[in-house]
């Protein structure tokens, strides 16, 4: 009974985090973007600085009619948002936020592989949506999504492999247990590659060619309305949370901090994740969209070689210090 309660509590906490954190990131994005552009952003919903704007958006989405285009492949069209969203929920389950058994939903032996594998599945949702919509813009979006995923999956994997090599384990808590502060400069190239490739996998600006709203009208999501569209948006923001959390755990030392590692470790994890999420928003406001060929070129001629160089460096240092 105690075990059941424990599992239920963990699942509940992860679920609440899964619902709350993306909204917090979304609201932060509203406000940060607004202030960077000399606006105020949402100010009315909820009273205090428009804190309830996304709740109001959610209510609006729920009220809208759920339209499926006549020519669409109905079942695939309706299934796609779930395929896009659920993997991030699963990934959130294994990200440790503090030391010990108590601060992670479920310890998985091959954590790095699990996380990358399941995140890759999420992109299938966008592909399904793009194909099933029976819309040429959606199909273009789906194509671009697939091309982008194929290009950026590799550097992401290689960068993660570098950390796994350094730690000698592929378990996420294991990697954090092995972390020392000097890993930060040692793995910094891998960290940048991982973060950039992750951004591209999430199709966040400046890598938002697949959803480019000003040319292919949000790509794979063109035909979606109401709750299903909201689920896709939620998937994007859940993806930001997951990516920032993963970068924190793999490269920035997770719960390790200059002080207060015992007891306050989870604060460090959340703080680093929040800073990275801010960077994600900042990049969106700062950089223009990359063209499709620039996207491919960036991945194959810059990120992949950098990741390989990082792996070589990791191997050399590992051999030297052991």
């Amino acid at each position: 009974m105690n075990d059941v309660a424990d599992v239920a509590l963990r699942l509940l906490i992860v679920f609440v985090v899964f619902l709350a954190f993306p909204l917090i990131v979304g609201q932060t994005e509203h406000k940060v973007m607004a202030h960077m552009q000399g606006r105020l952003g949402p100010m009315y919903a909820g009273g205090f600085h428009g804190w309830a704007q996304l709740v109001a958006d959610g209510v609006k989405f729920a009220q809208k009619e759920d339209v499926v285009p006549a020519g669409a492949d109905r079942r695939v069209f309706q299934l796609a948002p779930a395929v896009a969203l659920l993997p991030y929920l699963l990934v959130l389950l294994v990200i440790p936020i503090g030391p010990g058994e108590g601060a992670v939903g479920q310890v998985i032996d091959a954590g790095v592989f699990f996380v990358l594998a399941v995140m890759g599945v999420g992109v299938l949702g966008a592909l399904m949506a793009g194909w099933a919509s029976a819309n040429k813009f959606s199909l273009l979006g789906g194509l671009r999504t697939a091309a982008q995923l194929l290009a950026y999956e590799l550097p992401m994997l290689l960068a993660a492999a570098s950390v796994a090599m350094a730690a000698g384990t592929v378990s996420l808590p294991g990697i954090l247990d092995a972390f020392h502060w000097w890993w930060l400069p040692w793995q910094i190239v891998g960290a940048v590659v991982f973060f950039v490739a992750g951004l591209a996998e999430l199709q966040r600006p400046p890598f938002d060619m697949p959803v480019a709203d000003s040319e292919i009208i949000f790509g794979a999501y063109t035909e979606y309305t109401g709750l299903r569209f909201a689920l896709f948006l939620l998937a994007e923001y859940a993806g930001i949370v997951v990516l920032c959390g993963l970068t924190t755990v793999l490269f920035l030392g997770g719960w390790h901090g200059p002080w207060g590692a015992d007891g306050l470790g989870w604060v460090w994890t959340l703080l680093k994740t929040a800073v990275l999420a801010f960077v994600v928003i900042w990049l969106r406001v700062t950089y223009p969209r990359l063209r499709e060929d620039q996207l491919q070129k960036l991945s194959w001629t810059l990120l992949v070689p950098l990741a390989l160089a990082q792996i070589a460096l990791t191997g050399i240092v590992k051999v030297v210090i052991s």
Partner: protein, 253 residues
Amino acid sequence: MNLAAQTHGFLSPTGVEIAFLLVGLATFGAALVTVTTKQLVHAALWLVVTLGGLAVEYLLLTAEFIAWVQVLIYVGSVVVLLLFGLMLTKAPIGRSPDADSPNRWAALAVAVVAAAALVWVVADAFRTTWIDLDGTAAGTTRVTGEYLFRNWVLPFEALSVLLLAALVGAIVLSRKAKADAAGPPGRTATTPTPADGGGDRAPTPGDSDRAPTPGDSDRAPTPGDSDRTPAPGGGDRTTTPRGGDRSAEEGAR
């Protein structure tokens, strides 16, 4: 793991075994649908279910590492590549009348023979192997890694050389195709000079491939509509005329 280690009779299977059987049946069903469905993209999506079911089977066999690698490589990459190819060439919504191959009985025979050979070889090879279930689970990452890099280093390295050869082969093929495409004096061969000389973007050939995509091709579900493929844009992107501009742009970035 602990459940499986207990002794039990032939007709009193454990929960893990029941789950294994049920997942196996579901996987088999999904595989059947994959090869029999008349809708191309549905076949690819059922393939996802099949491969995912296989991953669950690996999990139930405590081969956790293999399970996640299966998801990562097959679901995450191979199927995405497959879908990309389908969307790029022909992905009609609804049934494809030409989805049936006249070779299907020969294909079935080959599949059955291949499956029989695999089952026979694996069963024969591991018939006398004694697996110790009391230690750490034999499929964990650590055990798999130690096994792989202590006992099977040579096959592992041979495989990686094979993959490298395939990689080099793919690059050679793609470069050759590019050289062939640029070789004959066609539409692309006439365009380079103005763009290289002045670098001006005014002439139409340079602009025509800037907006290659939507055009007027409607996404009609007819399988034979060839103008939906974004080939004209894709072909021009790799040729020289705009390459000069592009690298200049990127240098400025």
